[in-house]
């Protein structure tokens, strides 16, 4: 009803400081950093995020939000998480220059995560670096991985399709990670250097046209705002449920600064209110978001 009664406070969050295990280039301007944080790794679910910063530095000052890409094991035990990031500005540039052993501060899991309601066909749609939450989600729905402590009710889907749009083929990251989990990957690039020459929304339209039972499908989407707005429109026209993961800039990630607000439909006079995406999101039902 109001931004005070957020659905998901940082209830089970953990703060820790750790030396990164590795920080590798996996595509053009795109890195994967591996962070040891076993307790956090046990609790986090797909669509949740962490706040990450370089230890002992006041510039960049604030931590930045990053989605869970994957958890990893060491000697059979859950040992930490992988974050995949695109080099954009001050933090990601500084981070990209750091090697193994660099101390980072990390806290999470934060936010609500994607729904785990079982579905016949889960369609994940991503633009650019918006792809990061979908490896874990797809793996969970195909029964390859489980997340959360206590383990959350695992989402299931008979099919998981991943429509992934990027500017050019060199910016496509982690395609093998997705394929190895049994996810059906469909690619679109703006310049036609890989897959469909055009928008990822074209792929989504094609997919929905061939879909037998739209009521049994669900879309999960993350990417630039215009792309998410287009996906939400397509979903509405087709009558398919759709969840959006918003990438609103954040300062605290835990609900205390009111930076990360998005316009969410409410019964207010204006029909909407600013809500904090870090505690009420980042995942929202597409019909609730005013983009």
């Amino acid at each position: 009803m109001n931004p005070l009664n957020a659905a998901c406070y940082a209830d089970r969050a953990i703060w820790c400081r750790a030396p990164v295990v590795e920080n590798l280039v996996i595509a053009e301007s795109t890195f994967r950093v591996r962070i040891p944080c076993p307790e956090l790794a046990r609790r986090i679910i797909p669509g949740q995020f962490v706040m990450l910063r370089l230890a002992e530095r006041s510039d960049p000052l604030l931590a930045r939000p990053f989605a869970l890409y994957d958890t990893y094991r060491d000697a059979g035990e859950l040992a930490g998480i992988d974050v995949v990031y695109l080099v954009k500005g001050r933090f990601t540039t500084a981070m990209s220059r750091c090697g193994a052993g660099t101390e980072v501060e990390i806290w999470g899991p934060l936010g609500n995560g994607f729904s785990s309601r079982p579905v016949e066909h889960l369609i994940m749609v991503a633009g650019g670096i918006g792809q990061t939450p979908f490896l874990a989600l797809g793996a969970e729905f195909l029964g390859r991985k489980r997340f959360g402590e206590p383990e959350r009710e695992r989402g299931t889907a008979r099919r998981v399709t991943f429509c992934y749009g990027a500017r050019r083929s060199s910016m496509l990251a982690g395609l093998d990670d997705f394929r190895n989990q049994g996810i059906d990957v469909r690619v679109a690039t703006d310049d036609g250097s890989a897959g469909h020459h055009g928008f990822v929304t074209d792929l989504l339209r094609q997919l929905l046209e061939g879909e037998v039972s739209l009521a049994q499908a669900r879309i999960a989407c993350c990417g630039p705002e215009p792309m998410m707005a287009a996906v939400a429109r397509i979903a509405k026209e087709a009558g398919v449920a759709c969840e959006l993961s918003l990438e609103t800039p954040m300062a605290c990630g835990i609900g205390v600064c009111f930076t990360c607000v998005a316009r969410i439909r409410t019964d207010h006079a204006e029909g909407w209110d600013y809500k904090r995406t870090c505690v009420e999101g980042p995942v929202f039902d597409a019909t609730q978001v005013l983009l």
Partner: protein, 313 residues
């Protein structure tokens, strides 16, 4: 010979009528309504909690962007996004008063009458330690700037004092020519303590698109970048008034805390550092007794205002 230093320094602090278990508080607007922090911080250990400023009416807040990071600092124009005093009393107060930490409610009014009305209502609520009057928020347009005018400041503080039994803290803005004058009027009007400082007015620009980065064009700067300004304000005001001071501005390490105490603050508030490390308050609480012992004082109170300034020859 000096008296032996007790093993565990006494952390208790008195600010006028206010008694606090220790001098480490968390600043308004940087700790939400405390509930958000509960699993990362042991709230009961804090010297005081000041929830986000509330206003009479709900305010949606400013349009994004609401914050921009600058060199070792954070620029914000949240615009006092809050659901108003009714929602605060209904939803947050019942939780806050169950905590052992002292709760200091921050209020901002558009007029002196609004300040008085809100103070009267909160004065009737059980379990509160004090009020902090936010006469210094740079983000509320349309209101009178009570923190920039000595007479207005005196007027609003004395009227609240007359109508509300709770101790009163007045939080001042550094965005004035002579902060000492404003502090004097708050002191003369009967403030129990003065908080220094709120954010420093600033701006950030995207020259490529020829536009300001903040939705509100200008905003308040906080974080390590403003610590020297805050220290200067505490020092100057501590020389001019007897009212106890609470230092705020860029505090994130135990050295920062000690500097503010030495400069003349009886207590401090942690602001932006709660974002960059949500557990910072616990770390500083662990370190404070050690630092006081190193300073050779038996209590936090005895360090306050011990700065030695050599007069010029």
């Amino acid at each position: 010979m000096t008296d032996p230093i007790p093993l565990v320094p006494d952390l208790r602090i008195a600010l006028g009528r206010i008694q606090l278990p220790n001098p480490i508080l968390v600043a308004s607007g940087t700790f939400g309504y405390a509930r958000e922090m509960a699993r990362l911080v042991r709230l009961d250990r804090l010297g005081g909690i000041i929830p986000k400023t509330i206003t009479q009416q709900p305010r949606p807040g400013n349009r994004p962007w609401r914050t921009v990071e600058t060199a070792s600092g954070l620029l914000n124009s949240i615009g006092l996004d809050n659901d108003g005093i009714d929602a605060f009393i209904a939803h947050h107060l019942p939780y806050l008063v169950t905590l052992r930490a002292p709760i200091i409610v921050s209020i901002a009014g558009k007029s002196a009458d609004e300040f008085v009305g809100m103070a009267e209502r909160l004065g009737g609520c059980a379990g509160l330690t004090a009020l902090e009057l936010n006469v210094s928020c740079p983000n509320v347009s349309g209101g009178v700037d009570y923190g920039a005018d000595s007479r207005q400041c005196f007027d609003v503080v004395s009227r609240v004092r007359a109508r509300c039994g709770l101790p009163i803290i007045v939080k001042l803005t550094p965005n004035v020519t002579r902060i000492v004058d404003i502090a004097k009027s708050a002191s003369d009007a009967g403030a129990d303590a003065i908080s220094l400082i709120n954010t420093v007015l600033g701006m950030a620009i995207d020259w490529r698109h020829r536009r300001p980065l903040l939705g509100n064009v200008v905003g308040g700067l906080s974080g390590p970048a403003i610590k020297p300004i805050a220290l200067r304000c505490v020092y100057q005001v501590s020389r001019a008034v007897r009212t106890p001071l609470i230092g705020i501005g860029g505090i994130s390490t135990i050295d920062d805390v000690m500097e503010f105490l030495v400069a003349g603050a009886s207590a401090i508030q942690i602001g932006t550092a709660n974002y960059t490390d949500p557990t910072v308050s616990m770390r500083l609480l662990d370190q404070l007794p050690v630092a006081l012992t190193e300073a050779g004082v038996p209590s936090a109170a005895e360090l306050v205002g011990t700065l030695r300034v050599e007069s010029s020859p």
